[in-house]
């Protein structure tokens, strides 16, 4: 049963991702990307990592996609078809990415040592919280603090960059 659901999700992810990068309308590409992100959260739920699935749904499918949709609407791209690239460039990019993908999959399939099996484990939110605030070896309190400062810096930076022109005009007046 899990296997069937995994394959349905895998085909959804790959098909919608392909549609998202090949469609000519930017707004449609955004919608396809939204469904890819929702399917990826399904993979997290299948792996019994429910917290990550919820974060994926709320941060990615909720937050980042709203940012994308607003950016598409604010830049007036909704009706315009995207500029097409030359077929030479598409061919070159296709050869590069398909060759690299084939090489990577070959390396994965032939690699020994990933056939170990464990009991399925459920990741609880309590464990994640303890890991994030733990000072012991293996704890993550320093990256946690660094991430919080980075988010603050990104927020201030985004406000300053997006408002830059208006501030300059006010200084001139």
């Amino acid at each position: 049963m899990e296997r069937v659901i995994f394959y349905i999700l895998a085909f959804l992810i790959i098909g919608l991702a392909l549609m998202s990068i090949t469609t000519k309308k930017l707004y449609r590409a955004t919608m396809y990307l939204l469904f890819v992100l929702v399917s990826i959260s399904g993979i997290y739920f299948l792996m019994e990592y429910n917290f990550m699935g919820a974060v994926q749904l709320s941060v990615y499918a909720g937050g980042i996609m709203v940012l994308f949709i607003y950016a598409v609407l604010l830049t007036d791209q909704i009706g315009k078809p995207l500029r097409d690239t030359s077929w030479k460039r598409k061919l070159l990019a296709g050869i590069i990415s398909m060759g690299a993908a084939a090489l990577s999959i070959y390396a994965i399939v032939t690699f020994q040592g990933i056939n170990k099996t464990f009991e399925p484990t459920v990741t609880r939110v309590e464990d994640i919280g303890e890991k994030l605030l733990s000072y012991e070896p293996g704890g993550f309190v320093l990256p946690f603090e660094v991430i919080s400062i980075l988010l603050l810096a990104a927020m201030i930076g985004a406000i300053v960059i997006a408002k830059a022109k208006k501030l300059v005009n006010q200084e001139k007046n």
Partner: protein, 105 residues
């Protein structure tokens, strides 16, 4: 881990997703569309972290915690990149890569 699904299948899925992102990044000329291809690649990596952690060493949870950091970084990066794109659109009236030639403020 998922019952009946091996690590090889999950890693193949994320590899295909990652290189779909690479193809999109190489062929798109719109800045927002390129950023969307980047999101595909970041998502593939986050699944990789969780899957390898779940299958090979479920006792230590480093990969699972790091995938959370990846999502936080991706959110910060997207917010900044979209702010830059909006500013560029005000300056040049276009978000195509061929119109974005100057780095001047």
């Amino acid at each position: 881990m998922i019952e009946g699904v091996s690590l090889i299948e999950i890693l193949s899925l994320t590899t295909i997703l990652f290189f779909i992102g690479v193809y999109g990044f190489l062929t798109r000329t719109n800045l927002i569309a390129m950023l969307m291809s980047l999101e595909l690649m970041i998502n593939a990596e986050a699944i990789n972290f969780v899957a390898i952690n779940k299958y090979l060493s479920p006792a230590i949870m480093q990969g699972q915690v790091f995938s959370l950091f990846i999502i936080a970084l991706a959110a910060a990066e997207t917010a900044l990149a979209l702010a830059i794109i909006l500013h560029l659109f005000r300056l040049t009236d276009s978000i195509d890569v061929k119109d974005v030639e100057e780095l001047k403020y």
